[in-house]
């Protein structure tokens, strides 16, 4: 009787499948490369143009493509203002909700409250835009007076954006708080600390890296959010720090201009990609910082 051949056989089918699966994974690298190349190439064309000056782009206070002014600050201030309002709403509320869910709520209360908050995260952003324009803006006008608050304004868009980001911040923070081992809390109780003291002085500091990461990711979402600001923040670049007047954010501008008739190879077209590059770099930096914070400052308990 012949011995079975136990040597490793070559299996072309297996190799082929593995190659295909690798290609699937590699596609993500191609996507990133695609983004970088596309944004970079068109941005280079933009900055190479005679009408554009890099110094004016970085320092200029006027964004009027029609008359050749390409200063990015009006768009940046509007983006910062909407993001600021979003964070003012979502940071305290998100962290407080996370502390309640993780430290105070019973298992049953949590099993009801958490999914409801998650519904908020699943609502499409265009619906939030409708909400901002039809409820938040009239509310602000009711409180601060119709003359002070314009129909399109950054405050309304920012506040609603805060509601949109709230579930993200609270669920990420809650994950961080829940990961703090029980023994730390019990040690604190045994020393006579109250529940509040334990939560604020023991659990929150122990989970701080995760909480900061949640804030940064929330900020990155706010900077990149498009539909709420496109609907409610205003349609025209405006250099202002007044939250009650309309101003256009970077994303809002990209959406409005590309939604119209746009001819390729025009300066308008290229300028959008330069703005896209700024947006991409800022959000990428925020996301990477957040990951670094978690990796660097995480307290590890065994």
């Amino acid at each position: 009787m012949d011995h079975a051949d136990l040597r490793r056989r070559s299996r072309p089918r297996e190799t082929l499948i593995q190659a295909f699966l690798f290609a699937c994974g590699g596609l993500s690298i191609l996507t990133t490369l695609g983004i970088v190349v596309v944004l970079g190439r068109e941005s280079l064309l933009f900055f190479a143009s005679d009408e554009v000056d890099l110094v004016e782009f970085v320092t200029g206070g006027q964004w009027q493509p029609a008359i050749g002014h390409f200063g990015v600050w009006p768009l940046v201030t509007a983006t910062l203002m909407t993001s600021f309002f979003a964070m003012v709403v979502s940071l305290p509320l998100g962290l407080s909700a996370a502390i309640f869910l993780s430290e105070y709520a019973s298992t049953r209360a949590r099993s009801v409250l958490k999914p409801i908050l998650e519904i908020l995260a699943g609502v499409p952003t265009v619906v939030y835009g409708y909400f901002a324009l039809t409820l938040m803006t009239p509310l602000l006008r009711l409180i601060f007076g119709r003359d002070a608050v314009q129909i399109y304004n950054t405050a309304s868009a920012g506040l609603v954006m805060g509601i949109m980001i709230l579930p993200l911040v609270s669920s990420m923070s809650e994950d961080a708080l829940s990961a703090v081992p029980r023994s730390l809390r019990e040690a604190s109780y045994s020393l006579g600390a109250t529940k509040l003291e334990t939560a604020l002085k023991i659990v929150v500091p122990a989970a701080i890296s995760g909480i900061i990461a949640a804030f940064i990711v929330g900020m990155s979402r706010a900077v990149g959010e498009t539909m709420i600001v496109a609907i409610a923040a205003g349609a025209g670049p405006e250099l202002t720090l007044n939250p009650f007047v309309g101003a256009e954010t970077i994303t809002g501008h990209i959406a409005r201009i590309s939604g119209g008739d746009l001819s390729y190879n025009s300066l308008d077209y290229n300028s959008l990609f330069a703005l896209g590059l700024v947006l991409f770099l800022v959000t990428l930096a925020l996301n990477m910082i957040s990951r670094r914070v978690v990796a660097r400052f995480r307290e590890v308990y065994e």
């Binding site: 993500s28 499409p124 265009v126 619906v127 959406a255």
Partner: protein, 420 residues
Amino acid sequence: MSSILRSEANNSTGELPKGIFMPNSAKRHRLGKLWRVVFLSATVVGLIALLALLTDVLNGSWGLVAVQYRIDPATLADRPLSELPKEELVAIVEANVSKGLFRRFEREKPFEVRSREEVYALVEERVTQEEVAHSWPLSEALFHREEIERQMAADFPDAKLEFKSWISGAFLTRTMSSTPALAGVRTAGLGSLWMIALTIVFAFPVGVGAAVYLEEYAGRTWLNRLIQTNIDNLAGVPSIIYGMLGLAIFVRALGPLTSGAVFGVSESNGRTILSASLTMALLILPLIIINAQEAIRAVPDSLRQASYGLGATKWQTIWGHVLPSALPGILTGTILAISRAIGETAPLIVVGASTYITVDPQGPFSKFTALPIQIYNWTSRPQDQFRNIAAAAILVLLALLLTLNATAVLLRNRVSRRMG
């Protein structure tokens, strides 16, 4: 804490006087209760926001309208027009439009071959010519009825006050129109469905493939680590950036392909369903991969070992054992990613969805519009009635998302029951 220690040191008599063992105990507990309320209210604010959002949408979807007709339908027949058979509707058209116009309708498409619905639409459009002069949202209709009636008498003396549900069967089946009361979401809904179907076709196999590669094949090399980090980073890229990628690559560079010109199905440019689906597929790919990875990671190793022990190859193990037991988890993750894609608006704007389309999409190479695009478009218009149909379209979108998410939850529950 230090104050306790200090006071203890001062009292070395062995007896603890009152108030020293628990300094400020009452005050500290009061503070604790106060903050508990603060934390609870933060959670409640989230719930209130959700409630306000839903109320706001419902408020816009129903309400009172001031309706004016060129010819009041009540004078045309003794029954509601919607109950009349086709023949009577044709007679109404003949009696109420000029002879020349009637002949033109007949020439365009003979009345014998028109369906009853088409004739009915013709009656609405040409005979009764219903026009909504003004609309009031549900809240005002309920609480300020008298004020509305006064305003009606002053501003629209010829109009009739009617309660209108902006969301209706007709709203679902009608195509776009520049008159809000006659507009519907048919083209947008079909556009969304086409786009989603194609997105799944592209993203699901590639996403699961990448997840299988990363979990089952990838060794600890720098390349594989790069792929993993890269996928995590891609998940955080704003959706509008994907739109710009799609515009430059799929619409512009691959225009001949995505417009169907290469296949002889000629369209003017690459702003098609295909381009939108490819863009959307890239957008949800990281989500699908990350979710599928978790599902695959949850499959116990003993299953793999048993399969190898019986002499199965790596791929036989994955295809026959790992994937089937990870499938429910993978599907749940995919459904969640897809519901993100359905609501996503920004990339579609950039890729070039059209806002005014009246013909149903015919295939991947059609121009398209989608539900969120219509919501955006209608919300951005100044007239109140466009807000009403925007609210109705939001209800349609939310219903679609709810169905999808309910499916995901059901799947998850079935799995956890089977595992437990």
